[in-house]
Symmetry: C2
Subunit: 305 residues, 2 copies
């Protein structure tokens, strides 16, 4: 089997059009002819096809909420079972952990393009920046993935030149080396808000899970974790009652849903039995946000339903 | 005292010219009239003036190596003592930890501009992405800081349009909200190389310092830490003998020089007495790189000299 190619495919520019899935596959952009996700559970996903199958999916060109695979009846296309974090869903989730880009192919909606016989368009690279699960309209749990356009491929003026149709905007030429360099740079920038600073201070930079307090030559070091995430579609607030003070290890574990916090502040998750969240006077935590994190990110809970 | 302003100053565009330091201060860009670094040891630095004082400083417009303050004889301007990680130096170092931008003002070198009576130019926002210390030409230790231009203010074509002088290139218009959004996005992207993947696998994602092995629903989670950093001016290689497998907590502590590894693989640093780096057969570590990290990042060692 040929090696899975992550990233752009040589010779296929962003915006390339294809008549059908066979042509998309032949170009090396998305190889499966039926499946929406191309990937494996131990390597990650290299491409997806967005066909707008789920009613509640969101797509504004830059940010895309994509629903995972499985649990649908083949004939009726209705959701008849919970989706699982296995196979293609796990592949796409792995992209978040590994920082791998996904090629995104969209079904064309522009009637002018469609009339020329072209039905699919390669829309470039996206990153999986989050995933969670939630009840779909059927009541069964579905996995949802947030994909965001590679920021170095977004023309800086895109947000301003709204009179230029996005499809016609020229893709800026950036070499892979430049993109990698900038990505490496911005990965080292973590910005604090007044809110996150305040929470860290209330806890004296002590992890609310394990009690560790890291100290560097610059002083104590901790991280602020939003309980209900900021940004689409969660839209959690940047307020102190939505933030925990964690060490980097527990920040990672919280974000991946390894543990959660009950309404009585006891911790839940394998290995967290009998533990309680450390709290300090003055730091109120909103129970609604804890519930949101449990229901959307705490995967052990979901698996045991 | 007025609140310290981080980031752009309203009404002062990138490229703004000033006749003297007094005018730079009056505009709110860099308030001290003499000091190169404006900042405080508990808030961070809001601006610097680059005047090219140190012979071995590097500046290609996008990346700037800046030497810290102190230890110089006022009259001869020669280095006569070690610099310390206090006051303005600590302020600038804090920007790395807090992700705060620094306004950079450069002395003008273009004779045409100079002849118009303008001596200083506001060059926009930079991030402190690294700091370390090393012996200067005098033999005394100096602190050095790597500053990198805000990637969202760099025109995407900058690396390509080399015929356009950088000073004349129009600054792309990006709103603060857009920049924050993209920064938040790229902060969530961490990319692995083949080399870092290989090291994580050799250690089965177990931290070489504390032995912890974090597990998420996607599998084990560890981080790869380069011993001698990649990139200017260190230019450490992306090779397995220059990488350690660490948990996120020890990755932070290693990068901030809280501990280091001796040539016999014993750990050194407060709280690390008697501990030894966990090793596995097949993962060779280059002792030169360990020495480089000790000499440049291990600040406890330097403070005790």
């Amino acid at each position: 089997m040929a090696e899975r190619v992550f990233g752009d495919v040589k010779g296929v520019p962003v915006g390339a059009l294809f008549p059908d899935r066979k042509a998309v596959a032949a170009a090396g952009i998305h190889k499966p002819l039926q499946a929406g996700i191309s990937g494996s559970a131990n390597e990650g996903a290299d491409s997806i096809v967005v066909s707008g199958g789920y009613e509640d999916d969101f797509d504004d060109g830059e940010t895309l909420i994509y629903t995972g695979h499985g649990g649908r009846d083949q004939e009726s296309e209705k959701q008849v079972a919970h989706q699982e974090l296995t196979r293609q869903n796990k592949a796409l989730a792995l992209n978040k952990q590994l920082g791998l880009p996904v090629r995104v192919v969209r079904r064309v909606e522009d009637p002018k393009v469609l009339s020329s016989g072209m039905n699919y368009r390669y829309d470039g690279l996206y990153f999986v920046t989050d995933y969670w699960c939630e009840p779909g309209k059927s009541g069964f749990l579905v996995y949802r993935f947030r994909l965001e356009k590679d920021p170095f491929l977004v023309p800086p003026m895109a947000g301003v030149q709204s009179d230029v149709p996005e499809d016609d905007a020229p893709a800026p030429v950036i070499t892979t080396a430049q993109a990698e360099r900038r990505l490496a740079l911005v990965n080292r920038i973590k910005r604090d808000s007044k809110v996150t600073k305040a929470v860290k201070k209330m806890h004296d930079d002590t992890c609310q899970v394990c009690g560790v307090r890291l100290v560097t030559p610059l002083g104590a070091y901790s991280e602020a974790a939003h309980i209900k995430p900021l940004g689409m579609p969660h839209n959690g607030p940047d307020s102190t009652d939505n933030v925990l003070c964690l060490c980097p290890n527990h920040h990672v574990l919280f974000d991946y849903g390894v543990f959660a916090v009950n309404d009585d502040f006891s911790l839940v998750g394998t290995g967290y039995e009998g533990q309680v969240l450390r709290r300090v006077a003055g730091h109120q935590i909103n129970l609604e946000y804890l519930q949101y994190q449990r229901e959307h990110y705490f995967f052990l809970d979901i698996r045991s339903r």
